[in-house]
C-alpha cells in the first residue's frame, strides 16, 4: 500500500513536472503571437521570403520544444523566429507604404497634369479674350482718331469761317467806311438824297458843263471820280440811271437833246473810268421834270442838273466792298 502511494506520489509529481516542462518558453509564445500579427500585416503577400524563413525558424523552435521543452534550442530558435517575423512584418509594411507612395505620386502627377492642362486652357482663353479686347480697343481707337480728325477738320473749318467772317466784317466795315466817305465826297459837291430803295445824286448843271454845252468840265471830272470808283463793280440787274435835266429856256427839242447829250457825257465818263457799260444808262429828260419854278434865276439854276440814280444804296456799298 505504501508502495502504491509512493508510486502515485512519484507519478503525480512526474506528471506535474512533465506538465510544467511542456509549457512553451516565453520566447516561443512571443514568436507564435508575432506570426499571427504577420498575417494581419499580409506578410505572405508583401514579404513572402522573410515570412518563409520565419516559419522555418518557428518550426525548428516548435520541434525543439517537442523534443526537449524549454531547452536552449527552443528559446534560441523561438527568439530568431520572433525577430525574423518582425522583420517580415516591417518589410511588408515598407512594401505597402512604397506602393502607396507610388500610387500617390502617380495621382499627384495626374492631378498636376490635369491642373496644368486646365491652366493652359484657361490661359488660352484669356489670351483669346485679350486678343479680342485688343482688337476692339484698336477699332475704338481708330474710330476715336477718325472722330478727332473730323473734329480737327471741323475746328479748322470753323476757324477759317470765323477768319473769313472777321475778314468779311472788316471788309464790310471798311466798305461802309468807304461808302460813307464816298457819300461825304459826293455830298461835298452834289446833293445826295437817299431813301430805302435808291440813292439820288444831283449835280448842278453849272458845275459839270458850260452853258448850252455837253462837254464835261475838267473840274467836273475830278468831282465825279469818287462816283466812278464806287460804281466800278456795279452788277445789279437794275442799271444806274443818269438823267439829264434843263430849265425851260430855249426850245423843247433843244433842251431834250442837250439833256440827253449831257447824260450821255456823264455815262461815257463813268464807262471810261471802269464802270461796266451795261450798268449805266443815260436818259435825257429835257425841261419836263423841273424841281423848282423856272420864273426865278435860282429856280432855273436848280432845274439845270444831272441826276445819278443808284437803285439800291446797299448795292453801292457791296460793290465797293468787293
Amino acid at each position: 500500500m505504501k508502495t502504491l502511494l509512493g508510486f502515485g506520489f512519484i507519478s503525480v509529481t512526474t506528471l506535474m513536472l512533465g506538465c510544467g516542462s511542456n509549457q512553451p518558453s516565453s520566447q516561443l509564445v512571443q514568436a507564435r503571437t508575432a506570426m499571427q500579427s504577420a498575417d494581419q500585416a499580409r506578410a505572405s503577400t508583401y514579404a513572402p521570403k522573410d515570412l518563409y524563413e520565419a516559419q522555418k525558424l518557428l518550426a525548428k523552435a516548435e520541434a525543439a520544444h517537442k523534443d526537449d521543452p524549454r531547452s536552449g534550442d527552443e528559446t534560441h530558435y523561438a527568439y530568431l523566429a520572433h525577430r525574423k517575423t518582425l522583420t517580415a512584418v516591417a518589410h511588408a509594411q515598407a512594401e505597402q507604404a512604397r506602393l502607396e507612395r507610388e500610387k500617390n505620386q502617380e495621382a499627384y502627377t495626374t492631378t498636376l497634369e490635369r491642373r496644368s492642362a486646365d491652366l493652359k486652357e484657361e490661359n488660352n482663353k484669356k489670351e483669346l479674350d485679350l486678343v479680342r479686347t485688343t482688337g476692339k480697343l484698336e477699332t475704338t481707337q481708330a474710330a476715336a482718331q477718325q472722330d478727332q480728325a473730323r473734329l480737327n477738320q471741323a475746328n479748322q473749318q470753323l476757324t477759317q469761317k470765323e477768319q473769313a467772317l472777321a475778314a468779311e466784317t472788316q471788309a464790310r466795315q471798311e466798305a461802309e467806311a468807304r461808302a460813307d466817305a464816298a457819300l461825304k465826297d459826293l455830298q461835298a459837291m452834289a446833293a445826295v438824297k437817299q431813301d430805302r430803295e435808291r440813292l439820288v445824286i444831283t449835280f448842278a448843271g453849272s458845275v459839270l458843263f458850260e452853258s448850252g454845252k455837253s462837254v464835261l468840265l475838267g473840274t467836273a471830272k475830278e468831282k465825279m471820280q469818287p462816283l466812278a470808283t464806287a460804281l466800278r463793280n456795279y452788277k445789279s440787274g437794275d442799271p444806274v440811271v443818269i438823267q439829264g435835266h434843263t430849265d425851260d429856256r430855249g426850245s423843247d427839242s433843244f433842251n431834250q437833246q442837250l439833256s440827253q447829250a449831257r447824260a450821255e457825257s456823264v455815262r461815257v465818263y463813268l464807262i471810261e473810268n471802269g464802270v461796266p457799260p451795261a450798268a449805266v444808262v443815260a436818259v435825257g429828260k429835257g425841261e419836263s421834270e423841273p424841281v423848282a419854278a423856272n420864273s426865278s434865276p435860282e429856280g432855273r439854276a436848280n432845274n439845270r442838273r444831272v441826276e445819278v440814280i443808284v437803285p439800291h444804296r446797299d448795292q453801292l456799298s457791296m460793290q465797293q466792298a468787293q
Partner: protein, 118 residues
Amino acid sequence: MRRTIPGMLMLGLPLGILACGASRPVEKETDTKAAVRAAEEVGAEGVPQSALYLDLAKQQIASAEKLMKDGEQEKAARVLERAKADAEVAIAVAKAEGEKESAQQAAARVQQLQDGRF
C-alpha cells in the same frame, strides 16, 4: 577494428563540419557588426522601435565577445546570431518608417494639390 575506423571517420566528419560551423563566431561577429552599421546608416537610432533592437544587438555583441574571451565559442555564436536578427529588425523597421513617412508626404501633397494649395 577495420570497420570501426572508417565508421568513426564517417561519424567524425559531419560532426567536425558542424563543430566548425558552430565554432566560428568570429565570422558571425563580423556579419553582425556589419548589420549594426547598416542599421545605423538607415537611421535606426532615430526611430524609437528600431533604436530598441539596435541597442539589444549591441548589448549582445558585447556579451558574445565576453563569451568568446571565456572560451564559450558555441554560446557566443548563438548570441551573435540573435544579435544579427535584432539588427535586421532594426534595419527593417527603420526603412519601413521611412517608407511610411514618404507615403504620408506624397498623400499630403496630393491632398494639397486637390485642395488647390500648391
